[in-house]
Amino acid sequence: MIGIGIAKGLVQTARNLLGTYTDKDRLPTIEYPEERQALTEATRQFPFLVHDGDDPAKGLRCVACQICEKECPPKCIYIVKSRDKRVDYKGQMQFYPATFDIDYSVCMSCQICVEVCPFESIKMDTEFEFSTADRFRGLLFDKHRLAKSDAHYHRIHPTDAAESDAVMAAERAKAEAKAKADAEAKAKAAAAKLAPTPAASPEAQMEAPKPGSDTPTMPM
């Protein structure tokens, strides 16, 4: 009979309408600015730079290796390497970014910079409310605005942050072991200097990992 399908549909609609009063599952919307959805741990919005310690200027993990700048698909990262070096968390001399800009208006939140970074220094933030009246400067973030503490990273991505810590601890242990071995080799070489056959210089092996190279030492 014509109309039965329509009547069935209307019954279904009525059941849904009444269901909204009893079933919470039928009311999926939330009142956004007042009420917020809990973000999942994997949520990614825009990248930020992690710094250790309290001073963002000194504690940036970034060594200006420019891998993320090269790999970024929309090319929204701009880095200028420093002229001098400073001591990083492993106790090695490293460059640091003199300039590190990310244009958030170009960034497409793909997380590739995070994946390729061998130094655990660039991570994804969960902040998304960046609306601004200044369309050029307002979304161009320099390193002072990008720097956020390790504690912030631990708060938004606890699992990832723990993994990063483990990787960095392993690297530090490796660097310390290497430094120790180098010191021993140096002592041995000094002892061997007294002998007529000179040993190979151990300094050549002490070189810090070359920033900017395609084969960084740290595994992902």
Binding site: G9, Q12, T13, E71, C110
Partner: protein, 388 residues
């Protein structure tokens, strides 16, 4: 320019009820690119005789982003997030097709767990694409609000799964060459099982609401018929081809990934009209759910990425490869030529929405302009993929 001019039309003499000949002018209407029923920035140059479509020319390119050329200048990995933006409804299947092509080029082996994750995410993608399409199709027919909102309510649950897995609801960027970017988070499988278990109830509800609805049947049955011969000749793929009754599903034909391990049927249509295309999608959702139930039961542990896979400095050896999968819209293929460098020498996409769209005129001729809208809706296009 090949624009239709009034002189080029054959004006058929028409008679009114008394037998007197009437004369009328054709009317050229430019539908789009801002028309709400064109699913994006798509334009149809329609020539109308009264309300009947006499000629229809699809015009596209408004969303052209030069994706293929950009990919030739970007590293292999750098193109992965761009594939999300092709068909932004189904970013995970786009990722898979591209990853498949690169894996064939570089000879990477995908671990078993990653294959299962790929099947699960691809079938979830199919669910949310089809459910979205059914909602939009009914929106095109004038059922404003209810069906689309119901469809989206269910789609959001799948998108929540994607968000907790990949970090983004639509631009997932999840698959990598040789596996997946990260393992499933804790509790994700249970969450997915709940969504899969709740889905049939929604489908029943949706079908009670619509499938037997007389207005829907009157609007769609017999409209926009596509014969199997024409569909094959036009290399139409996906649900549109199967609605015309041609048994062709890349999941069955190619058995890429681990699809040979799952039991599922390929629904086929009889008439090739808009109603069949709508029903095929509903039936495919049932089959996707069957695949999902098997995959969620059988997913093994283990690594999710080939240990040989390299993120930085990835240079596959020279050669060419073609990876194709059954996307929710049809056969999605990526053709790659490598010269051994860090970026592909040639990068070409076989976009299902674009190729399915080429037969739009054949389906619309002789129908009214209102039918043209739902025929376009039933083709299921996403302009991000059509224009690339």
């Amino acid at each position: 320019m090949n624009r239709p001019t009034p002189e080029s039309f054959v004006v058929r003499p028409r008679v009114d009820h008394e037998g007197t000949e009437l004369e009328g002018d054709m009317l050229e209407v430019s539908m789009g690119p801002q028309h709400p029923s064109t699913h994006g920035v798509f334009r149809m140059d329609v020539v109308l005789d009264g309300e009947t479509v006499v000629k229809l020319k699809p015009v596209f390119g408004y969303l052209h982003r030069n994706h293929e050329k950009i990919a030739e200048g970007t590293s292999y990995l750098g193109s992965m997030p761009y594939t999300d933006r092709l068909d932004y409804f189904c970013s995970l299947t786009n990722n898979w097709a591209y990853a498949l092509a690169v894996e064939r080029l570089a000879g990477l082996q995908v671990p078993e767990r990653a294959e299962y994750i790929r099947v699960i995410t691809a079938e979830l993608t199919r669910l949310q694409n089809h459910v979205g399409l059914c909602g939009f199709l009914l929106q095109d027919m004038g059922a404003l609000g209810t069906p689309l909102m119901w469809a989206f309510r269910q789609r959001e649950k799948v998108l929540d799964l994607f968000e907790s897995l990949t970090g983004a609801r639509m631009m997932c960027n999840y698959m990598r060459f040789g596996g997946c970017r990260c393992d499933l988070p804790a509790g994700w499988l249970e969450q997915a099982r709940t969504v899969v278990a709740d889905f049939p109830a929604f489908l029943r509800e949706f079908e009670t609401l619509l499938s037997g609805n007389e207005i829907l049947m009157a609007r769609t049955q017999g409209v926009g018929r596509l014969s199997p011969e024409l569909a094959v000749a036009g290399s139409v793929t996906g649900p549109m081809l199967r609605a015309s009754g041609v048994d062709y599903d890349v999941r069955k034909v190619d058995r890429y990934g681990i699809y040979d391990r799952f039991e599922f049927r390929v629904p086929l249509g009889d008439h090739g009209d808009v109603y069949d295309r709508y029903m095929i999608r509903v039936l495919e959702m049932h089959e996707s759910l069957a695949i999902l139930r098997q995959a969620l039961k059988g997913i093994p542990g283990g690594p999710v990425i080939d240990p040989k896979a390299k993120l930085r400095g990835f240079r596959p050896k020279p050669g060419e490869s073609y990876g194709r999968i059954e996307g929710p819209k049809g056969e999605l293929g990526f053709y790659l030529v490598s010269d051994g460098g860090p970026n592909p020498y040639r990068y070409r996409i076989r976009p299902p929405s674009f190729i399915n769209l080429t037969l739009l005129e054949d389906m619309c001729l002789g129908r009214s302009i209102a039918d043209a809208v739902i025929i376009l809706g039933s083709v299921d296009i996403v302009l991000g993929e059509v224009d690339r």
